[in-house]
């Protein structure tokens, strides 16, 4: 058997985050010699999913300052949960939703990797309405995002319904001519400006619309906002009635990363966990890598991800992952007849709807993604809540307030009991792919709450580099089922 050092690798991929893993999938039929490493002893990098024990060791490592993009991780665990209980959890570091119209889904289908992923429906988006006066308690309102929903909702006034309908209709064709004129002058201004000036939408309804974009600072530009809302609307009903987005069972993007690595392994890639790159040296056309395992390997190309934070704290997020002792049954009901039961719902707390312990109003929105046990992320009878806000000094406090507020309005008394909490910060970094000779550095994982197609471009670019002259565009991520894989009930016809 050839040893690692005797092989001249075509590419060494370092890290098993989503982008590196998708690259492994893209190269899985290429006959290239691929060595896929990860300095972590788990798969998924910034998109990993953890059992409680995994989360514990991860948090401990982040606390020592070697967590790369992650900091300030802490765990509150009133109850001892180890051994097999620990493994009944799969807490996602990247609980992103994937819109039905996402290019990632098309690539998972054409590459056949989707067969190993179990997709669940993401249900309604809600907005938190704080109590205005003592007689009217706080509540959750469902955001209507289809014509039917706008008609039937009692959450907004008749006038607001008319405005909302007009806006939704506008968005569906916003890139064609009469619509174009209306928004282009506002393109780089916040979406709220367009809503206010051109659609005369009041601030309450603005919050509804901005929530659909899941914008972390609530200040998404008109250009980006319209694109995201359009994607949301056109994703509605694509894979069944009543939902626009999907979530992979067993920890979200972690599952996609692992399925991709498995495809890489089936294609012959060699995998090494717990092994990073200690030093590298250019030797002629090749790069010699010294691995932390002590091995020395030679490769033509190295693909890694940038996990150095850019240093701008305002682009970081603060996250609270809470396991609660309630199935939150009322949250996970199908919204329309014939729709699959959703496993994930979203609740937004608009800026100003919460206040810190010292009474300061929240500056940015908080998004809460509630996951039922159907996601495989917690045992039956429990739910996992992922709360996210921009990382500012008050963020931790605000997330706790949001959690409390949600427990107050979620319509389930038992929701009061929090079994487990994990808190951390995640920083952002470079947004572009960088090529330096034979080293390709993929962008830092994005912090967005829904998967953006923009993460796919750099993967494609890296694939082109690795393939060189052998790159055939039409073959990118387009594979047939491997021999021995049955094509049964779910035949995909192209």
């Amino acid at each position: 058997m050839e040893s690692l050092g005797d092989t001249l690798w075509d590419v060494v991929i370092c890290g098993t985050g989503l982008q590196q893993s998708l690259l492994a999938l893209a190269l899985s039929r290429s006959d290239k010699k691929i060595l896929h490493l990860d300095p972590n002893d788990f798969y998924g990098g910034a998109e990993a999913a953890f059992s409680l024990q995994d989360a514990e060791s991860w948090a401990a490592r982040v606390a020592t300052g070697t967590g790369g993009l992650f900091r300030s991780a802490s765990i509150v665990r009133p109850e001892d949960a180890t051994g097999s209980t620990s493994r009944a959890y799969s807490l996602a570091l990247a609980p992103k939703l994937i819109h039905a119209r996402s290019a990632l889904l098309s690539q998972l289908v054409s590459s056949r990797a989707y067969r190993q992923v179990e997709f669940l429906a993401v249900g309604s988006f809600h907005i938190f309405k704080p109590s205005q006066d003592p007689v009217q308690p706080s509540s959750l309102a469902r955001i209507p995002s289809t014509r039917e929903e706008v008609f039937s909702t009692s959450a907004v006034s008749t006038k607001a319904k008319r405005l909302l309908m007009k806006f939704l209709k506008f968005v569906l064709n916003y890139e064609s001519s009469p619509q174009l004129d209306l928004w282009q002058q506002h393109a780089d201004a916040p979406l709220t400006q367009l809503l206010q000036q051109e659609f005369k939408v009041d601030s309450e309804l603005q919050a509804y619309i901005v929530t659909l974009t899941l914008s972390l600072d609530g200040k998404i530009t008109t250009r980006d906002g319209l694109a995201v809302i359009r994607r949301h609307l056109s994703s509605m009903g694509v894979y069944g009635p009543g939902f626009a987005a999907l979530y992979p069972k067993w920890g979200g993007l972690s599952e996609i990363a692992q399925v991709s690595c498995r495809a890489g392994a089936v294609g012959g890639a060699v995998y090494m966990l717990g092994t990073g790159i200690k030093a590298m040296e250019k030797v002629g056309e090749e790069t010699e890598l010294q691995l932390t395992s002590g091995d020395k390997v030679k490769t033509r190309l190295l693909v890694q991800a940038d996990d150095n934070p850019s240093g701008q704290t305002e682009t970081g997020i603060s996250r609270l992952v809470a396991v609660i002792a309630s199935p939150l049954t009322s949250q996970f009901e199908a919204s329309v007849e014939g729709a699959p039961r959703p496993a994930v719902t979203i609740t937004a707390f608009p800026a100003g709807s919460l206040s810190t312990t010292s009474g300061k109003a929240s500056e940015y929105p908080v998004y809460l993604s509630a996951h039922s046990s159907d996601t495989g992320e917690c045992p039956l009878g429990q739910s996992v809540l992922y709360l996210t806000t921009l990382s500012i000094p008050d963020a931790k406090d605000i997330l706790q307030q949001a959690l409390n507020a949600f427990r107050g309005v979620s319509g389930d008394d038992q929701a009061l009991q929090v079994l487990y909490q994990l808190q951390y910060e995640q920083l952002s970094g470079s947004k572009t792919i960088q090529t330096d000779g034979s080293t390709i550095t993929l962008p830092t994982p994005s912090l967005s709450l829904s998967l953006e197609d923009s993460i796919l471009g750099p993967v494609h670019e890296a694939w082109e580099k690795v393939m060189g002259d052998a790159a055939v565009e039409a073959e990118y991520m387009a594979f047939s089922d491997r021999e021995g894989v049955m094509d049964d009930d779910d035949v995909y016809d192209e």
């Binding site: 289908v109 056109s234 692992q258 890489g264 966990l273």
Partner: protein, 233 residues
């Protein structure tokens, strides 16, 4: 494994992973189960292989999604990726090679430590045809590999006792003759609790409300059929 062609029975997928030392016959067992075939000089698996096969039980159909991993040490990092969320594991040793049982015990311990709680594990001693017990079982192939004797190095007793202590299913098989191969998979199919087929796995799985395919979103579903219209405003 032939389909009976009766009225459709409920069908569920079961993710199964094969683990074990190199050359014990993991891929050969899968080849026997899936294609009813055997190759005298099967090349070592690189990375992993993925295959599927249906198993018809009286009351339901199980579709096995089989991950056959490479046994060579350099692929050891792969295993966690495959046993994660697996409902069943086949840990294979070669009953003519005692070290392979030691390796199998390591895998069992790792599964018990790291895999889904409630995973069904079957310990399989393969290459029974190379022993005296193998004679006569597979029809016609007896003694083919060893002229006179018995190459067995791991007694049935030893492996069986270990399997019982650890709560594992246990079989001795021959991928070469086909002896007991289907039985291994059928036993696994039968051991997977009905509830865990339909529900999220976990400590409380038995209290599950019935969860059916209604939840899983099929990406081959009504794609493009009126997608835009349903949200037309």
């Amino acid at each position: 494994m032939a389909d009976s062609g009766n009225a459709p029975k409920p069908s569920s997928s079961v993710k199964l992973v094969l683990l074990g030392e190199a050359a014990v016959g993991k891929s050969s067992l899968v080849l026997r189960f899936v294609n009813n075939d055997f190759q005298e000089n099967k090349e070592p698996t690189i990375g992993a292989a993925f295959l599927t096969q249906k198993c018809n039980l009286p009351t339901r159909t199980i579709k096995f999604e089989i991950w056959d991993t490479a046994g060579q040490e350099r692929f050891a990092s792969l295993a966690p990726m495959y046993y994660r969320n697996a409902q069943a594991a086949l840990v294979v040793y070669d009953l003519t090679k005692p070290t392979s049982l030691i390796k199998a015990k390591h895998w069992v311990a790792e599964l018990q430590r790291q895999a889904s709680p409630g995973i069904v594990i079957s310990l399989v001693g393969n290459k029974l045809d190379l022993t005296n017990d193998g004679a006569g079982d597979g029809g016609g192939e007896e003694g083919a590999a060893e002229d006179s004797g018995d190459a067995r190095k791991v007694t049935t007793e030893e492996a069986k006792t270990y399997a019982e202590d650890e709560g594992l299913l246990f079989f001795e098989t021959s991928a070469k003759t086909g002896y007991n191969v289907t039985e291994v998979f059928t036993a696994i199919a039968n051991s997977i609790p009905e509830t865990s087929l339909k529900t999220a796995r976990g400590p409380n799985a038995s209290h599950a409300p019935s969860r059916t395919e209604e939840q899983r979103v099929n990406l081959n579903g009504p794609r493009d059929s009126g997608a835009k219209d349903s949200c037309a405003c």
